[in-house]
Symmetry: D2
Subunit: 448 residues, 4 copies
């Protein structure tokens, strides 16, 4: 079940009077929809309000893709700001660039389309419809640059409405409604959940799951994170995901491993929640388990293998190493594996910390955690030997560690100084201070 499908499916549950798709009135759908939309933004709309919004939402929900694109076009074209008034305001501002004129110009810029979208939100299920509309608009983005103003309006509204102040962190455990739990199975993006038994395993005993929810999307997680409570910083995903839960340890856990974060709403793409989620979950976990001292991830390195391949192709990797990597299934051969180990660990450290001469576009997962204030703690050998793990990162995984006292400094180092803060264990696999080009990269920073 793809997340998008699920969204439309849940729309069907939320919007009442859902007309049959392909109903005979298709030809008149567009006219009707635009008439309703015009009514909705008129003064009249404020009175008829919810009813008109519900009719329009129902009509739009039933549109096929072609019809939907027509509708989007009409929204851009027919619900634009008043050009004449806008020109007057622009000239007024240029003549008197005061804050008051800027504010008036801002008001003149706002297209009725934004108010229309807000009023669609009055319909039962309106918020879910707007999310589905943005999902579709973002899919069409490249092919249809003319829809950009609509994309802007939807993004603007949704990012304002899904403000952290309106989100609620919920612990999701085995007592959660099955209707929510099946969404976890559908949305899990990092380590696929194999079914209900696998899911129960991730919600009970030494495991925790937390998600953000929005009051206008009941039962629909926005983003969720899976956590394992352990006594050591996990070095392999097998220990976490594929094995049985350990018997209760004699000592309480002191480490929380964030092993999966999944965004659930494609309609909220580019609106970031993961950072806030991790910090809130750390706070909640500490309140519940005061013994917890270490907070770290066990993260994939999705871009590492591609980066290595590119380096090989460019001749930037010594040829012996390249040959060894070309052996089929080298990771099943213990001796070959052992030979490759120091080289791959070193390369990975370079990849994640940014070798000189390369641009700073490090791994997306690294970028996420480093800019959140985590530090690069440890690179783990043979940490994920699943086909996906091999294909993406030659089986390596990484721990990013969140030290509450260092978060602001780490964030500043990464974002402002463009330095990656890393721990001793990473330094040790780097080898002598020589990158491919023989120099220690200037912007690394060693910690502890």
């Amino acid at each position: 079940m793809s997340a998008t499908f699920s969204l439309w499916r849940s729309l069907a549950d939320r919007i009442t009077h859902w007309p049959g798709r392909g109903a005979p009135q298709v030809a008149r759908q567009m006219d009707q929809a635009l008439t309703l939309a015009r009514n909705l933004v008129s003064q009249h709309g404020e009175t008829a309000g919810t009813k008109v919004a519900a009719e329009l939402a129902s009509l739009v929900s039933a549109m096929d893709e072609a019809r939907l694109i027509d509708f989007f076009e009409a929204l851009v074209r027919n619900f634009a700001a008043d050009a004449e008034a806008l020109q007057v305001a622009a000239q007024a501002y240029l003549a008197d660039p005061s804050e008051l004129q800027a504010s008036r110009l801002g008001a003149a810029c706002e297209p009725p389309r934004q108010e229309l979208l807000r009023r669609i939100n009055m319909a039962p299920g309106g918020t879910a419809l707007l999310l589905a509309m943005r999902t579709k608009v973002l899919e069409l983005r490249r092919a249809r640059p003319d829809l950009e103003p609509l994309a802007y309006d939807l993004g603007h509204l949704l990012s304002s409405w899904f403000n952290r102040g309106f989100l609620k962190l919920e612990k999701i455990d085995w007592n959660a409604p099955a209707a929510i739990l099946e969404r976890l199975i559908a949305y899990e993006a990092v380590h696929a959940i194999a079914g209900w038994d696998d899911l129960r395993r991730r919600l009970t005993g030494d495991r925790r799951c937390f998600g953000f929810f929005h009051p206008a999307l009941p039962g629909e997680p926005i983003i969720f994170v899976e956590v394992a409570l352990t006594r050591t910083m996990s070095a392999s995903v097998d220990a976490l995901i594929r094995s049985e839960s350990q018997p209760a340890a004699s000592a309480p856990p002191n480490t929380a491993i964030f092993y999966s974060i999944s965004s659930c709403q494609p309609g909220l793409r580019n609106i970031s929640f993961g950072n806030l989620l991790i910090k809130q979950v750390v706070a909640d976990l500490v309140a519940e388990n005061p013994e917890l001292k270490t907070f770290a991830t066990l993260s994939p390195i999705p871009g590492f293998r591609a980066w290595v391949d590119k380096a090989v192709a460019a001749g930037r990797i010594e040829s012996g190493l390249a040959d060894q990597l070309a052996q089929p299934q080298w990771w099943l051969d213990a001796a070959a594996s052992e030979r490759l180990r120091p080289h791959l660990l070193r390369l990975c450290a370079q990849y994640l910390t940014g070798a000189p001469g390369e641009d700073r576009s490090v791994d997306p997962v690294a970028r996420f955690h480093l800019s959140n204030g985590a530090r690069l703690e440890r690179i783990n050998w043979r940490a994920d030997l699943s086909p996906k793990g091999i294909a993406e990162s030659h089986g390596l995984m990484v721990n990013y560690r969140y030290l509450p006292s260092d978060i602001e400094a780490n964030h500043h180092a990464f974002v402002v100084e463009k330095r990656v803060v890393y721990a001793k264990a990473v330094r040790e696999v780097m080898g002598p201070p020589s990158g491919p080009s023989g120099r220690q990269p200037a912007r690394l920073s060693l910690v502890s």
Copy 2:
């Protein structure tokens, strides 16, 4: 307890680390607040997020009025849109007035202040703080026109966030938390609630109360309406408010009288909810009591007496009538009362339907219900003899009736055609078709 006071009081409950007012650091408060605000809108703010927002919220909540005004000024001055970029965008739009350029100009217009306000909302209690800020800004509006851009931003954000799609209608009865019920006593704006016994009377038996709530303001009604279920359209407020509840009638009620609507949040002034509330409550009442057929208000006429006085002063009222009205406490004299009755009823019908030669600025309560699609149903003699009732409207009250089938037409008549739709009972008190000026007003419209 004034509503404003209550807001600040509830802020104190919601915002943690509320420092004592008048703390020694007053001198440095402003610097600190502005530093925090700058951090919050910087890229850094996204990481530090909730924590910085909470500190800023706590600081602002503790400011005295002078400090607060300084802070508001700084928000207008220091968090404005980038003037240079805005000028470029304005010129680009004037050169190419396309929808794309309009959208870009809109983006350029948005001041960082708006993002700052959104991030303040991340603080616990942030929404309540923004409401309190808008309350204060609106109070200062006349004296400080330079704060208008801040007023615009706050209004823009709050009206988007308090979208109907995010409000929840709740039935408020005697099982509601006392903390909510005491707010009803504080906020009731039409017929003051005399205490907890009076309140219980309005929440039990044949009475109902409904309110809109927002998830970010738990326990805090946005607006509420009080309803009496009866068997006749109430003609006097005494029967509703001041008398004991009637013993259970033999027949179920067929009429719902909306006898009080109160807005609770001065920070949401000019953002309209009453219309949507009434319609939702009608729908909920019908679902619960299918026998209900008639939905009407028993409403005050706050501007009637002032209008009569003005007409007297202007010599537009015959002098005999004016003399009678000048008798002290004429309403205690049955004969005098009876003589005045037809005249006052006629004048009131004119006042409410709009006599020619006068502008359309009818009574604010009338304007609210008529534009919502109600019709003017009946004017009631000796309906509210309380000091306030006499002072405002010579003791008259009016029923506005909501006929589900006519709502759209009535709304259209009032808003577009500028006609007031009224019922036969109103026609009958109008006397022969002559206003003060002897002509039937052109824009009246008689129904049924």
Copy 3:
């Protein structure tokens, strides 16, 4: 997962300080348990209360079977009523058989064991422990008649505590906690649930599920019933269980088919809830779907085939028919099937209505519904061709129908007059008025 296992598992969740099984102190467990038990029934027990109860509950929960039986014996032996006082009271009653003496004798009869069990109930998880104890005592019943007094006390207490007035009917749908739903899968006794997809199928769309819950067993259903909303009285279990859900019909359902009732708590054996559950569910379904007119079961006939086999063995069935039934898999042969049809239907009608000369020990499912006031509505051919369906009833199933207006009369007919009330469709398959013995059974009763 057996229901008993699950009970003990959920005990482990509920009782805190659960010591490890096989702990070294096994030898002293019994002494400790009996000391705690004595403390608990002493006056002291009222003060130490919950704490002592929790320790005792924890200790008992950890006992292995041998230890548990020792403990049960000790409860019978050491916590009996005071023999001397009881003898005095018995003699006093015999001398003066008044109601007052009877009441005193009753008080003297009550063994301290009952108060001990009540105080065990004060422990967190105490009610679940008492249920588990009764489960075990009932298992041992035949082997250990000396435990009968304990069985009586537990049954007496639990039947009083699980009074209908304390049970809550809950609708169980796909929004129920997964922890409850997995219990449905474990406890379903009629048509096994194949997994979570099968379960979802039974909780959504045109299906309903309701269960009784007790406040002291949160998340643990006592008994549940599965219902299909349809437009015809189902004649085959395949249509209900094994096929896909039908697309939403154009017309709303008018029939509710109860196709499965499962008791969940072996510790409540012989305490009847099914009757009350069905009636409450009928009332709730009507409130929610006023169009529902027909309420019927689709029920198995667990004893039919055994009854036929016995009749064959006794030569009470004509030999041609017996030979046909002896053909392997005759139900896969359409012609053979068609020949058997009238005979099996007739025999089944006899089996269910009770042929003269046979004792009244009809089918247990029939007895349950008929004594609840249902009538025998229809016998369905080829209604359950699953191995279990063939093995139990030659593939036949039956509809029992609950007509609200007839329930009391039907109940009276069955229980007092020992008559089975049946509908015309049953009469029609009975053939000419001759049972095996050629006479219309005197106690049948034809309806409609």
Copy 4:
């Protein structure tokens, strides 16, 4: 509002189809009620169940007192155990006084009346009706000893049903439903609550309130306790009740003062909950406020003045002291007051610890706390100068202290050894070791 009245009032809310009192069918009420009761205990009753129970409950709820007494009589007379069977069982037991025969005799003793009461409990509101019935039966107890068997049955059932394991402790604060809060005002038995403002004062800031609730009596507290969190052990009720809440102290509270415990259900008289409530509240308070170290009451001494008066009358008090106490309003005269102080404190210590030669029937409040394991901590001078305080105890109050580590020993001392454990502060006011009779009472015990 008396508690009893409230019970009947809430009955009216809970039991449906409540017929008007004094309805014409009064004459036939009794016949109808007894027919329904017979139906309910018959086998038929199990089927008709809830419906018959509801009809009977409705009928009984509408009876006037005379009718109710007739009904109670009929319950005793007509629903007794089968005398013949009981005689057989009694003889069988006397012949073979085994545990099995005792258990059978117990079963034979149980009158159908008990089952009838259990089935009445199936009616909506049935539990509340049974409580009201027991309230009435206890009122009639002296006048009608023949109703004793009914009193026994009701007490037996209710004490089993209101087992601690079924009670839920709830924190009652200002967010509780007004419908519950108004019951606190009605039921408060120690320090009357003056209205809603006084109530709010007792539920917010440094005050806490907790109550036990039973699932069958939603919204109806069984018993509740009021607690003040302080920094010293309160010595005067004024500081707690009559003054304004103190401003938030700089340090968190370390002391919890239980200043009022009120039972709410006269139908549960003699079924003790206070002991369990206090211990559970102590545990909950510690979990919420780990700084709390001292748990004590500030309690009235309801029997002290009467005891002094009796001693005066008997000449056991020196005459000078008696004369001073006879001065009207001596407590308003500082010098007189000061003279009396040591004497009254000494007498009070004697009263509470039990002088030899007097029977052990100490103060009921003292008996409650001492048998719960509290110790007598301090006697407070001029602690309650309200008219009630003067009238009951010459203005004295007492602190009983609950030291978790000593509870069991204190309980044992009081209940088994018949010693009162008291603290040094009490010893100090006792004066030289001479009671009125000149000897140190043997059973006192000095602590710390």
